[in-house]
Symmetry: C2
Amino acid sequence: MPGIMKYVNRIHRSMGIVYNNRLREYGINHCQHPYILLICRYPGITQEELARSVCVNKSNVTRQLASLEGEGYLTRRPDEGDKRLLRVYPTKKMEALLPHVQEVMGNWNSLLLEGFSEEEQNKLLSMLEVITDRATKAAHSTLRSNERPSGEKGGEIL
Amino acid sequence: MPGIMKYVNRIHRSMGIVYNNRLREYGINHCQHPYILLICRYPGITQEELARSVCVNKSNVTRQLASLEGEGYLTRRPDEGDKRLLRVYPTKKMEALLPHVQEVMGNWNSLLLEGFSEEEQNKLLSMLEVITDRATKAAHSTLRSNERPSGEKGGEIL
DNA sequence: TAAGTAAAGTTGCGGTTGCAACTGTTTTGG
DNA sequence: CCAAAACAGTTGCAACCGCAACTTTACTTA
């Protein structure tokens, strides 16, 4: 009955405003910071893996990465074996950017969690992990329920 | 040093997907549900109060309310004394909608918090409240730092 | 092996958001 | 008393998002 979404929504929006201000000088925006972390940690990651990791529609990965590539932060090369895959690699420019992004994130997290005991923080994190898992599963399941049952798709009309 | 934003962002996006699906039949979208709650609870609330309560830019209040008004869910009347203010009132159509919105929210919260003890839920809520307060203050402060310094700005009605 | 299906990625579309500039009203201060 | 600042609300703009339709490549299966 309590309603955690009021808080979740506000935290999300506030983060966007603050990150945008802090990251503006590097020519990137708040929704690109997860990609930077993932690409630096897993060079050669595919766009589909990025979409799943960030929990965002794959079309957004295409566009955000195109933007970052235009700024010279990454390169994309097709996989040798499977030509469907685009593997994403960071440039030195992105590796130079990474510490600044991590600093912005560190400052933000310190600000939010300051004063809470380590036990409180761990409890919060573990609960959020469970909640996130349920939320993403529910979102995924509502998407599936919108699709046509595969039996009726083509229908063998002809 | 753990990042709570990864979870916050995913929960936020998943909620948008699920709420949009559940609310589609009523002609409203996921970002309009906070307005419905507030307008039904505080008939005559002004748009500026809505913007502060939902923690959203006032331009969005203008547009979302215009959409809801077009659907016949509310009416807006200028304040008698202060002609700058637009006071927002729910129609019977919105009052009929309210229980459905509350049901969607209740189902969502039950899904997310199921199995956690009441003590765990209360602890989570109180931590999120503190974190939200810090986040919104930080966002507000970065906005101010872009403008001229000015007096402190008001708080919340909820 | 050939036809059908699945997967990765791209693009067009509609909708939401934040921001800045604007209108109109109220309050303030010299 | 009147000009300047503050305030509520609106609008144009650019950016992001999810979705659906599409292309290209790989896999399944009959």
